[in-house]
C-alpha cells in the first residue's frame, strides 16, 4: 500500500512534455489559475448554492486540460480508483451530514431519510455533496494541469521571480526528487528485512506496529546517509543557497497573454470576495 501510494505520488508529479498552449504559458499563470479555482470554488460551494456553477468550472477545466494536451484519460485510468474512493467518501459524508437550522427549517428542503439526531439526507445535502465533489475534482484537475505541463525547475524559478527565496524554491523542487529516493530506500530496507523473514502484515496490531518500526528505523538511517552524501555532492557542484545572481537555461517568457489571464483571474477573485462580503453572492436556491 505504502509503495503504491509513493509510486502514485511519483507518477503524479511527473512532467509530461507536449507542444501546447498550456505548456507554453508562464508557470505563474498556471499557479494563479490553481489558486483561483480552489478559492473561488469554495465561495460557490454551499448547501443552498446551485451546484451548476461548480459543474461549469469543472467542465471548463477539463476543456482547458484536454485542449492543452494534458493526459487526463491516462491519469483517470491509473488513479481512477483512488479518485473514486476519495470523492465517494466526500459525497456520502456531505450528503448525510449537511444540515443546520437554516437548512432543516427551510420548508423547501426535502428530507430523504434521517437517523436523528446525526444523519439527515436532504435535498440541500445532495446539492452540497455534488458541489463539493465537483470542487474536489476541479482541484485535482487544476493540480494535474499545473504539474503535468510545468517543469518543476521552471516553477521554482517562477517562485524566485515573485520573491520566494532561492533556498525555499530549491527545497521545494528538491523535495519532489525525494519521492523516488524514499521509494528506493524503502525497497532496499524492505527487501533486506523480508529476505530474513520479516512479515509486515502478520500478527496482532501491536506486532504489526513493531514490524513497521523495524522497517522505518533502518529506512531513516539509509535516507539520512543518502542526504548526507547528497549534501556533499550538492556543494561540491557549486550549488549553495548564497544570495548571488543566477541565470537560467530556459527562461519561460511572461507574455501579454499571461498578463491578461492573471489580471482576469485576479479581478474575478477579488470580485468574488468583495461580492461575498457585501452579500451579493449569497444565492439561495431554496
Amino acid at each position: 500500500m505504502l509503495f503504491h501510494l509513493l509510486g502514485m505520488a511519483e507518477a503524479m508529479i511527473a512532467y509530461e512534455p507536449a507542444d501546447s498552449y498550456l505548456h507554453r504559458i508562464h508557470p505563474l499563470t498556471k499557479l494563479a489559475l490553481m489558486l483561483f479555482v480552489i478559492i473561488a470554488g469554495m465561495y460557490i460551494s454551499g448547501p443552498t448554492f446551485p451546484w451548476g456553477l461548480n459543474m461549469g468550472l469543472f467542465i471548463l477545466l477539463v476543456i482547458i486540460a484536454l485542449t492543452g494536451k494534458i493526459p487526463l484519460g491516462k491519469e483517470l485510468r491509473d488513479r481512477g480508483g483512488y479518485i473514486f474512493a476519495i470523492v465517494s467518501i466526500l459525497f456520502v459524508g456531505n450528503l448525510i451530514f449537511s444540515r443546520g437550522v437554516e437548512v432543516l427549517n427551510n420548508p423547501n428542503v426535502r428530507v430523504y431519510f434521517k437517523i436523528e439526531p446525526i444523519i439527515y439526507a436532504t435535498s440541500a445535502g445532495l446539492n452540497f455533496a455534488i458541489s463539493k465533489t465537483l470542487l474536489i475534482l476541479s482541484s485535482i484537475v487544476v493540480v494535474i494541469i499545473l504539474l503535468k505541463s510545468t517543469r518543476l525547475a521552471d516553477l521554482s524559478h517562477a517562485l524566485i521571480k515573485i520573491g520566494v527565496p532561492y533556498s525555499i524554491a530549491t527545497i521545494i523542487t528538491t523535495s519532489f526528487r525525494c519521492v523516488p529516493m524514499v521509494i528506493d530506500g524503502l525497497l532496499i530496507v524492505y527487501n533486506a528485512e523480508r529476505a530474513r523473514g520479516l512479515e509486515l502484515d502478520k500478527g496482532t496490531r501491536r506486532e504489526r506496529i513493531r514490524q513497521w518500526q523495524l522497517l522505518m528505523t533502518p529506512l531513516l538511517i539509509v535516507l539520512l546517509k543518502w542526504v548526507d552524501q547528497m549534501t556533499i555532492v550538492f556543494q561540491s557542484r557549486g550549488l549553495d543557497f548564497s544570495a548571488r545572481s543566477r541565470t537560467r537555461l530556459r527562461e519561460v517568457p511572461f507574455r501579454a497573454f499571461d498578463g491578461v489571464v492573471i489580471s482576469v483571474l485576479l479581478v474575478s477573485l477579488i470580485s468574488f470576495i468583495v461580492a461575498n462580503q457585501l452579500g451579493y453572492i449569497d444565492v439561495n436556491i431554496y
Binding site: P180, R194, A195, G197
Partner: protein
C-alpha cells in the same frame, strides 16, 4: 605547459573527525604532483586513503568533511584549504561511485545545467555547454528524461556530463564504474578518454580493475595505509607483481600471464604487456605463428568447470524452477519474458546480463518478493505464491550487493539474531546457530562489534553469516564483486565456493565475467528480460552471438586465448592452466 603541476600535494596528512584513534590517519605525509593533462590512477586496498586523496584534491576534505589536517593541497596554484567550496567547484569536478546520490533535478537537461545556472553564466553559454556535455556522454536526445528512470550506466553518464559541463581543470573519478556492467563501464571510460584527449584535462582516477583503464593512464600512485608507496608510469608498476598484489588491484590477465612467462625466462618483453595482443605477439613468434597440436589437448581439454557438484539423488527434482515465467511492471513493461529454468540442488549458477536485463527481477522472484504475472516459480517444491515469507527466508538466503543495505543493527549479534527472531526460534537454537554461522565465515568473537566499524569484507561476511544462520538451502548473491578489491574479494568468493562444495546451491548475479567463469558450473544469460542461453561456461563464453546479443564482454582469459589463436578463442578454465600449457611449448631462453 605539459610539465606544469596542476595538483600539488605537499606533506598532506588528514584524520577524520570520527577516527578511532589519534594515530588513525586517513592520509599520512602525502607528497604528489600531477601535471596538466596527466591521468593519475590511484591504487590501493579498500580503506587505504584513495577516496580521501580525491576528496582532498576537490576541497571536499576538509571543507565539507571535517577532520584534522597538516600540509597543503594546491590546485592550479591555489590552496584548496583557503579557497571556498564554490570556487573549488569551478576548478575540480568529482564523479562518485553511486550515481543515485549525485542527481537532484527532475530532467537530464536541468541536472547538467544546475551548476552553470548557479555560476550565473549567460543562457546561450549554458545551452551550448549542456548540449556539448550531453553529446560527449552519448546522452543527446535524452534531455527531457527523468534521471531517476535511467539505467545505472546512463545515470553515471549524466553525473559525468554534469561535471564536464562545468569545464573544470581537474576531474576526480572515484570508482565511477563500480555499479556498471562491462559495456556501460567501457562506454564511461570511452567518455573519459575522449575528454582527456580533446580537452587535456588533468584527471585523478580511483579504480580497482586495471584492464579498462591501464592503456590510457599516464601515471600510477599506490597508497598503503594512507602513505604513497609507489609513484611511476603504469608499465613500471605492473612489472612488480608483488606490489600489485598488495594493492588488491585486478591486474589484466594479459599482463599477469606475460610477467609469469617472463619470470620463467620463457618469453622476454621489452616492457610489461598491457593487452592480449601484446602478450601474444612474442609467444606466436616463438611457436612460429601456429600451435602444433590439437588445441583442446593443448589447453587442458576441459569442457566445463570441474566444480559441478549437483547432488545426484535430488537431481531430478529442481530446487528452483521457473515455469513459463513472465513478469510485467504495473505500467506494462516486460521485465521477464517466458523464462523456463530449472536449478538443481548443489549447482553453482552464474546469472549474467547487462544492467536492466532482468537479473535482479529474477532474484526477487526466487525470494518471493515479486510474483510472476504469468507462469510460476517453484522453490523447494512449492509455488512461491503459496509460501510464507518465513518459509522462503529459510530456503533462500539473499546477500545484497552493498552490505550497508543489509546491516542495520548496532552489533553483529543483533544482526545475526534478526532472521531467527522473525522465524520464532528459541534462544538455545539461536545461540548454537550463531556460533556455527560466525565460525563458517571466520568471524567468531565479533558478536559485540558494531558492523559499521568493520571493513567492507568483514561487513560482507556478517551479511553472509546473517543469512547462513537460518541454514538456507540456496545462497543468492547479488553482485558480490562490486566495489571490492581483489584481496577483500578473494576470501569471500573462496568462502562461497567452500559452502558450495559442502552442498549449498549457489546463484550468483554478476557483471564480472572472470568470476562467473571461474566459480560457476552453469551460466544463464539474460538479455532484455529473455533467457538467451544456458549452459556451462565453456560453451557460453565461446559463443560470439550470445555475448553480442547480451552485450557482454568475453572474459579476459578467453580474450587472451583468442589473441593466441588469431581471433578464435579456445576454452581454458584458469590462468594457471593457460600458463602451464603455453610453458609446455616454450623453451627457456
Amino acid at each position: 605547459m605539459d610539465n606544469q603541476p596542476v595538483i600539488e600535494i605537499d606533506n598532506f596528512s588528514f584524520r577524520y573527525k570520527e577516527a578511532a584513534s589519534p594515530e588513525s590517519l586517513a592520509l599520512r605525509d602525502v607528497n604528489v604532483k600531477v601535471n596538466e593533462g596527466e591521468i593519475a590512477l590511484i591504487l590501493g586496498r579498500s580503506g587505504c586513503g584513495k577516496s580521501t586523496l580525491g576528496l582532498a584534491v576537490s576541497g571536499i576534505v576538509p571543507h565539507l568533511i571535517e577532520g584534522e589536517w597538516a600540509g597543503d593541497v594546491k590546485v592550479c596554484g591555489s590552496s584548496t584549504l583557503s579557497t571556498s567550496m564554490y570556487e573549488m567547484s569551478k576548478r575540480v569536478g568529482v564523479v562518485f561511485q553511486d550515481p543515485e546520490v549525485q542527481l537532484f533535478a527532475l530532467t537530464v537537461e536541468d541536472e547538467v545545467a544546475m551548476s552553470l545556472e548557479s555560476y550565473g553564466l549567460p543562457t546561450q553559454e549554458i545551452r551550448e555547454r549542456v548540449d556539448w556535455a550531453l553529446s560527449v556522454c552519448g546522452l543527446s536526445g535524452m534531455e527531457m528524461r527523468a534521471p531517476a528512470k535511467l539505467s545505472g550506466g546512463q545515470k553515471q553518464r549524466v553525473a559525468i556530463a554534469a561535471v564536464l559541463a562545468r569545464d573544470p581543470d581537474v576531474l576526480v573519478f572515484d570508482e565511477p564504474t563500480g555499479n556498471l556492467d562491462p559495456v556501460s563501464t567501457r562506454s564511461v571510460y570511452q567518455v573519459i578518454k575522449h575528454i582527456c584527449a580533446e580537452k587535456k584535462r588533468t584527471v585523478i582516477l580511483v579504480e580497482h580493475d586495471l584492464a579498462p583503464v591501464i592503456d590510457f593512464v599516464s601515471k600510477v600512485i599506490v597508497l598503503e595505509e594512507g602513505q604513497v608507496i609507489f609513484e611511476g608510469e603504469p608499465r613500471s608498476v605492473l612489472s612488480q607483481l608483488e606490489l600489485m598484489n598488495k594493492t588488491g588491484a585486478k591486474v589484466p590477465v594479459a599482463t599477469h600471464l606475460g610477467l609469469v612467462l617472463e619470470n620463467k625466462n620463457l618469453i622476454s618483453y621489452p616492457q610489461p604487456p598491457l593487452s592480449p595482443e601484446e602478450t601474444a605477439a612474442p609467444i606466436l613468434v616463438a611457436i612460429n605463428q601456429s600451435w602444433p597440436t590439437d588445441k583442446r589437448e593443448l589447453f587442458g581439454k576441459s569442457e566445463s568447470n570441474n566444480n559441478s557438484s549437483r547432488i545426484d539423488g535430488d537431481s531430478i527434482k529442481p530446487i528452483i524452477s521457473f515455469q513459463s515465467v513472465t513478469y510485467r511492471y504495473p505500467k506494462g513493461q516486460v521485465a521477464l519474458e517466458n523464462i523456463n529454468l530449472d536449478i538443481f540442488r548443489g549447482e553453482f549458477v552464474g546469472i549474467v546480463g547487462m544492467n536492466g536485463a532482468g537479473k535482479t527481477t529474477m532474484a526477487l522472484h526466487v525470494m518471493g518478493i515479486l510474483t510472476p504475472t504469468e507462469g510460476k516459480v517453484i522453490v523447494n517444491g512449492k509455488d512461491t505464491r503459496e509460501m510464507s515469507v518465513a518459509e522462503l527466508a529459510r530456503t533462500v538466503g539473499l546477500i545484497f550487493q552493498n552490505p550497508n543495505h543489509q546491516l542495520f543493527k548496532d552489533n553483529v549479534e543483533k544482526e545475526l539474531r534478526f532472521g531467527p527472531d522473525n522465524l520464532g526460534w528459541d534462544e538455545d537454537r539461536i545461540l548454537k546457530s550463531m556460533d556455527r554461522a560466525l565460525g563458517l565465515v571466520g568471524l567468531a568473537g565479533t558478536e559485540k562489534m558494531d558492523p559499521e566499524g568493520l571493513s567492507t569484507g568483514q561487513k560482507k561476511r556478517v551479511a553472509i553469516a546473517s543469512t547462513l544462520i537460518m541454514d538456507p538451502k540456496v545462497l543468492l548473491l547479488d553482485e558480490p564483486t562490486t566495489g571490492q578489491d581483489q584481496r577483500t574479494l578473494q576470501p569471500i568468493l573462496e568462502l562461497v565456493s567452500r559452502l558450495h562444495s559442502e552442498g549449498l546451491t549457489v546463484l550468483m548475479i554478476t557483471h564480472d565475467m572472470e568470476v562467473a567463469m571461474k566459480f560457476a558450473d552453469r551460466i544463464v544469460v539474460l538479455a532484455n528480460g529473455r533467457m538467451i542461453a544456458d549452459g556451462p561456461p565453456s560453451q557460453i563464453f565461446l559463443r560470439d552471438e550470445v555475448l553480442r546479443e547480451a552485450e557482454l564482454i568475453r572474459p579476459e582469459l578467453l580474450q587472451m586465448t583468442a589473441a593466441l589463436n588469431h581471433g578464435e578463442p579456445w576454452w581454458v578454465s584458469s590462468i594457471e592452466d593457460l600458463e602451464r600449457c603455453i610453458s609446455s611449448f616454450l623453451v627457456p631462453a
